[in-house]
């Protein structure tokens, strides 16, 4: 077990920036926010679903609404110009953060799911047909799995799934077999939100490019938790969500290589995405605005910028190390229970989350009991139903960590799991 000193983040200082982490819970849920019956300090371990928001991010949104709220790209007045500059600069900041060439490659969406659908509709619907293949993995999130599955049904393309082995890793030999000349798209999750597996996406990108296919990397769990460079991966498309990386809800990112986005038709039509419109026809705005029809989530884009600044101040290497240490500690401590099944690779080789099941307690019961101990985890299928079918579990419990979590919180989790086991013994 690692000494506590090796944790690279000053968690106590960071926690000060997150008012919600001082919240108590345990009372009535019908009135939101802390109330009378709330007596126990919250242990928030559901970060893979959504992370908490630091003051700096909330303040950036307040500053926008109190100081320069206006529509973007439409007004010549000062507020509109200020809003436009800030919103555009948020694109530059994202580009810089993930190693993209520039704002042309950064499309703001609502979330990862919308980014996936954008590519499925704008590219897939036009390019896929009978005889074409889309290769996914067995550990895809529904955001990618359902989207490509349904698109394949519409277009007559076929979907194949790269096998997940007993340790929760991709079978790369199987990947080699599946990614053949008929393959047009490989869509893979970077870090699995259920198994915690970190997939070799650069190798998959090479395989895809060798047969002339595109690769779409779902970075919803990777961008928040480690340094990511889309150029190093050589991803054609890459997506993630602001709300999982200290940002607000309602903002996500689609990265696409400029040449690839250039060749694609728009996904949504309307205002802001056009250059010239007549009664007969229309031409499109430059990238990335061609893909951002209508008034976008301006405040949320600005909030995402602030979240990235916050993460960069901590340093993404430090974020990653902190996650690894907590995941390993949680893995080791949970392994003390003899009737536990932990899904995915070993503790020293995974993202900052641990999904598991006890033989004796259903995941939903476990989550309810943990809630009684003020420990917030996720219970369910984590939007990976086919993977859960394969694992032979209808649901699992998942604890996921972030920059403000501590070893003591992992201890609280383990303690509460122990209590649940006793209750059901």
């Amino acid at each position: 077990m690692k000494a506590q000193e090796s944790y690279p983040i000053d968690v106590a200082a960071i926690r000060e920036d997150f008012p919600i982490l001082a919240r108590k819970v345990g009372g009535d849920v019908t009135t939101p926010g802390e109330g009378e019956g709330d007596t126990e300090p919250l242990v928030y371990l559901d970060n893979a679903a959504t992370s908490q928001t630091p003051k700096r991010v909330v303040e950036s949104i307040v500053d926008y609404y109190y100081g320069y709220n206006a529509n973007v790209h439409r007004g010549i007045h000062q507020l509109s110009q200020e809003a436009s500059v800030a919103y555009e600069e948020a694109h530059d900041r994202v580009a810089d953060f993930i190693g993209a060439e520039g704002r042309e490659e950064i499309v703001f969406t609502k979330n990862t799911t919308e980014a996936m659908n954008l590519v499925a509709y704008a590219w897939g619907l036009n390019e896929l047909g009978p005889g074409d293949r889309v290769v996914l993995t067995e550990m895809e999130h529904h955001a990618s799995l359902v989207t490509w599955q349904q698109l394949a049904k519409k277009t007559g393309a076929e979907v194949k799934y790269i096998r997940v082995d007993d340790e929760g890793r991709l079978d790369m030999e199987h990947a080699k077999e599946l990614i053949d000349e008929s393959t047009k798209m490989v869509s893979t999750v970077h870090v699995s939100n259920t198994l915690g597996t970190i997939n070799p996406v650069d190798e998959l990108a090479d395989m895809a490019h060798e047969v002339g296919a595109y690769i779409f990397v779902d970075g919803a769990q990777s961008v928040p938790t480690r340094p990511v460079d889309v150029g190093d991966i050589d991803a054609d498309f890459f997506a993630f969500s602001g709300h999982k990386m200290l940002g607000p809800t309602g903002i996500g990112v689609l990265y696409g290589k400029e040449g690839v986005l250039e060749d694609m038709e728009p996904y949504l039509y309307g205002g802001d995405m056009i250059r010239r419109v007549t009664y007969e026809d229309a031409t499109w705005e430059d990238l990335p605005w061609k893909f951002e029809a209508g008034t976008p989530n301006i405040a949320q884009g600005i909030g995402l910028h602030a979240a990235i600044d916050y993460l960069d101040d901590i340093g993404m290497e430090n974020v990653q190390r902190h996650e690894e240490l907590l995941a390993e500690y949680a893995y080791d401590r949970l392994s003390e229970f003899d009737d536990i099944t932990i899904y995915g690779p070993p503790g020293d080789d995974r993202g900052g989350l641990v999904a598991f099941n006890l033989d004796s307690v259903h995941a939903h019961d476990l989550s309810s009991i943990l809630n009684d101990y003020a420990v917030a985890i996720r219970a369910g299928d984590h939007c990976t139903q086919p993977l859960h079918d394969k694992l032979g579990a209808a649901a699992s419990a998942r604890a996921s960590f972030y920059v403000y979590n501590t070893r003591e919180e992992v201890d609280a989790l383990v303690e509460a799991v122990g209590q649940a086991r006793e209750l059901f013994a």
């Binding site: 819970v25 345990g26 009372g27 849920v29 019908t30 019956g37 007596t39 126990e40 307690v361 259903h362 995941a363 939903h364 019961d365 309810s368 009991i369 809630n371 009684d372 101990y373 003020a374 369910g380 299928d381 579990a393 209808a394 649901a395 209750l423 059901f424």
Partner: protein
């Protein structure tokens, strides 16, 4: 810890660990199955009616899932005998919450009412009011 739900009071744990009327009936008047996809709870209810074709004589259940869904089915199997089919169909979620004797959190209510819904749909199918393969609690 006296917080939130004492959702797992002794009674519920007892019915979960020692389910009553568990198993499949050989000669049910009607049977029906249902599931709660989000939890993976499954319940099959077997119901035998008395000769009047309306009064419930005996109920058995089988299935798999969380403690709330299974305990609820077990308790319901004890409560239903003696009730008529229309009394069964009139039951609502409050009756189940009363029966369980604990506060059920909003996210878990689907688990709690699964057995009731399966029994009710089974009765409606038997009486020709609806046509349904499987009950799902997804509202």
């Amino acid at each position: 810890m006296g917080m939130g739900s004492d959702m797992y009071r002794q009674q519920i744990l007892d019915h979960y660990k020692n389910p009553r009327n568990y198993g499949e009936m050989e000669d049910p008047t009607f049977s029906h199955v249902g599931e709660n996809p989000s939890c993976g709870d499954t319940i099959k209810m077997d119901v035998r009616l008395e000769d009047d074709g309306d009064t419930i004589e005996y109920v058995a259940f089988s299935g798999d899932g969380c403690a709330i869904s299974q305990a609820s089915a077990s308790m319901l199997s004890q409560q239903l005998p003696g009730k008529t089919l229309s009394e069964l169909k009139e039951m609502d979620r409050d009756d189940i919450v009363d029966m369980l004797g604990v506060d059920i959190s909003p996210m878990r209510i689907k688990c709690a009412v699964l057995a009731e819904k399966v029994a009710q749909d089974g009765a409606k199918i038997y009486q020709g009011e609806i046509d349904l393969d499987k009950t799902k609690t997804e509202d």
